[in-house]
């Protein structure tokens, strides 16, 4: 045990003295998580996973605009109203074209009056036979940022149409109620015998409710999906696996100098030295995760991003971090023994880690990949780690849901360590 502590302390001192290497190990995941999260925040705006900003220029300033705002409130649309005294429809068009807002809507002057006239005219056309007046139509101008996804565009159009349709329907029912009231009075029936006053309210009640069923034990306290909850663990994981290369480098440095021969002449197993290295680099990985987590928790809210949180199950998160670190270190040991030079280890290591990250869903979610790649994702250790993180942090699952991923990470560590150990013996 004391020999393992000695080997660990030596590794930690060497790491501490390699300031440039250490800086890269911590700076790289920190920088990646900030940049990628900011980029994805923009992507989420464009795909509708985040509330969409609708720029409204209400030149009418009547009941239509007020009604429309009320109906869109609570949806994933954030309305930004511009003052008609200061802005024109050309300004709105420009703001949308430059991507400052995703959607622009202009309500022309006199729209509310036209809407009432159109509703009245429609009723008259219906109840008075022989009235062939052409129907009045109201035109609202809508603009879309060319960069937004077609799905989001359809969604917003549908939401606007639903809101406008509901306003129009309400107005038609109101007019119909008035007309029925007149007829009832003419027929001598008491007004309160029919619910004419609340007619639009009664008719407007929905008949169907879409009940969204999310599988599994979803914790109601788990934060909603956002790029921070995905990116912080994903890029921390990426950084952790990058430590495999410096770990391999430390072995190669010993192998290429006389140190390896001297160590082999000592009355101890190379396994002790391996364990010492693993402990030291697991400490580095834990520090990396803490740093990236702190950035997510405290820096992100300051720059307008949601805060990262592990409050649902910190113990499970730490277990995932620990086992992912072990897997990364196992890979480092294997690289250090399988390669002959640092150049070989870094090329092979970085390529394998980037490929594994891409395949594992760190860069693009696995569900967005082609079917074949989704099948292949299962072979990536980063996929196991990321899945476990997302199960805990996003899906709100319990520890029992991630045992298979944790088992794979552990198995990967022991397998790579065993391979490295066999290479030590084979080189004798």
């Amino acid at each position: 045990m004391l020999k393992i502590i000695t080997a660990t302390c030596k590794e930690l001192i060497l790491l501490k003295r390699d300031r440039a290497g250490l800086l890269v190990l911590f700076l790289m995941p920190a920088l990646l998580v900030i940049v990628i999260t900011l980029v994805q925040e923009n992507v989420m705006e464009l795909t509708g996973q985040k509330s969409t900003q609708l720029l409204l220029l209400d030149l009418d300033e009547g009941e239509l605009g007020i009604n429309l705002r009320q109906r869109l409130a609570g949806e994933q649309i954030e309305i930004v109203a511009w003052d008609k005294q200061l802005k024109t429809s050309v300004d709105v068009e420009k703001a949308i074209a430059t991507g400052n807002y995703q959607v622009g809507l202009i309500i022309p002057a006199g729209s509310s009056v036209t809407m009432r006239e159109a509703a009245t005219q429609l009723l008259q056309t219906t109840v008075q036979s022989g009235n062939d007046q052409p129907a009045l139509r109201l035109y609202l101008k809508v603009f879309f940022d060319p960069g937004i996804m077609p799905g989001l565009r359809s969604g917003i159009t549908a939401q606007l149409q639903m809101a406008l349709g509901a306003i129009a329907m309400e107005m038609k029912i109101e007019n119909l109620g008035k007309e029925i009231g007149k007829l009832v009075t003419q027929l001598g029936i008491p007004q309160d015998a029919l619910p004419i006053d609340n007619l639009s309210e009664h008719i407007g009640q929905p008949l169907f409710t879409l009940d969204e069923n999310r599988d599994g034990a979803v914790d109601s306290e788990s934060p909603p999906y956002n790029p921070v909850q995905q990116n912080v663990p994903a890029w921390a994981l990426f950084g952790m696996f990058f430590t495999a290369v410096p770990l391999a480098g430390s072995i190669l440095q010993e192998r290429r100098s006389g140190i390896w021969i001297r160590l082999a002449s000592l009355p101890l197993s190379h396994l002790v030295l391996f364990v010492g290295k693993v402990i030291a680099f697991v400490v580095v990985c834990l520090c990396q995760f803490v740093l990236v987590g702190l950035i997510g928790a405290f820096l992100f809210p300051g720059i307008g991003l949601p805060a990262f949180s592990i409050s649902q199950n910190p113990g499970a998160v730490l277990l995932v971090v620990f086992l992912s670190s072990l897997a990364a270190c196992g890979f480092g040991l294997f690289l250090g023994m399988a390669c002959s030079t640092y150049e070989q280890a870094s090329t092979l290591g970085y390529t394998a880690i980037v490929a594994s990250a891409a395949l594992g869903g760190v860069m693009v979610p696995v569900y967005a990949m082609p079917p074949l790649m989704q099948e292949l994702a299962i072979i990536s250790p980063l996929n196991w780690g990321l899945n476990a993180f997302l199960d805990i942090l996003v899906r709100g699952d319990a520890l029992s849901a991630i045992w298979s991923d944790l088992g794979r990470l552990t198995l990967f560590f022991f397998l790579t360590m065993l391979l490295a150990w066999n290479l030590v013996r084979a080189r004798k």
């Binding site: 004391l2 020999k3 000695t6 080997a7 030596k10 001192i13 060497l14 003295r17 390699d18 100098s257 006389g258 140190i259 021969i261 001297r262 160590l263 082999a264 002449s265 000592l266 009355p267 101890l268 004798k428």
Partner: protein, 266 residues
């Protein structure tokens, strides 16, 4: 069965006049993977306790391979090695407690100080507390680096590194010491100091196996030498005996007479 055969082989190599050799190698063969070259070819050697044995050879003659096999760093393709009558297969841990190795390359961590290097290797040898501090101080004194003990090895001169490299191999007071060309690239003063200390160590009873291609060094230090060529010992004996037998003026002439003048590392 294989174990018994090995033990018989060790016995036949080591037990002479009832005395166990410090180092006994018997018919060692070694070829590196992917190389057509036989690094060691039927090498047999006995070094008695307390002897200062020099293994002389040109570059590529097999000196480092021989030391790697003697110290258990590598295994032979065939043949046996025994240290104080013990084989690596059964008694590796015991052998490593009594064996010191000073590799040809500097076997130190550049980014640790001399004291930290000694502390690390000392703890791995199992030393603790006061005993460890004593050994570290003695090794620093031995290598004349007490005042530079807190400097990173990275900043040392070649001679300082060589001296510390040697001292690290002596940390655990080994009974047998393997030195693989320990004075390569060292200035005259450092070489002189290293020679002086090695002689003192040998006088105190440490068995030394010393590889070199500097003939004058071998003549000055060694009680017995073996000339290694193409992986085999072609001649062995005390320097005086060998010179008498061959009528050569010095070991260099003898070496050239035995191995020829053509380059050996091509």
């Amino acid at each position: 069965m294989a174990e018994t055969a090995i033990m018989k082989s060790i016995d036949s190599c080591t037990l002479k006049n009832g005395q166990v050799d410090a180092i006994a190698a018997c018919s060692l063969m070694k070829r590196y993977k992917g190389s057509g070259h036989q690094a060691l070819n039927d090498l047999s050697l006995q070094v008695t306790k307390g002897e200062f044995f020099g293994l002389l050879g040109a570059n590529g003659a097999g000196k480092t391979t021989a030391v790697s096999l003697f110290s258990g760093f590598m295994s032979p393709d065939s043949g046996t090695v025994s240290i104080m009558g013990m084989g690596f297969r059964r008694d590796a841990k015991k052998i490593r407690q009594i064996l010191g190795l000073v590799p040809q390359e500097i076997a130190l961590y550049d980014q640790l100080t001399a004291r930290e290097n000694l502390l690390f290797f000392g703890r791995l040898y199992g030393f603790r507390g006061k005993k460890l501090q004593e050994r570290i101080d003695q090794c620093l004194e031995f290598s004349r680096l007490t005042e530079q003990a807190s400097r990173l090895v990275f900043s040392y001169s070649g001679g300082m590194k060589r001296r510390l490299n040697l001292a690290t191999g002596l940390l655990h007071l080994p009974e047998i010491l393997f030195l693989d060309e320990p004075t390569v690239g060292v200035d005259t003063q450092s070489r002189h100091l290293i020679h002086q200390q090695l002689v003192e160590l040998n006088q105190k009873g440490t068995t030394i196996l010393y590889t070199t291609h500097y003939m004058e060094e071998a003549q000055e230090l060694c009680s017995r030498i073996g000339i290694l060529d193409a992986g085999s010992i072609i001649k062995q004996g005390s320097p005086d005996e060998l010179l008498k037998q061959s009528d050569c003026r010095n070991l260099e002439d003898l070496f050239l007479q035995l191995t020829g003048k053509q380059l050996r590392d091509t």
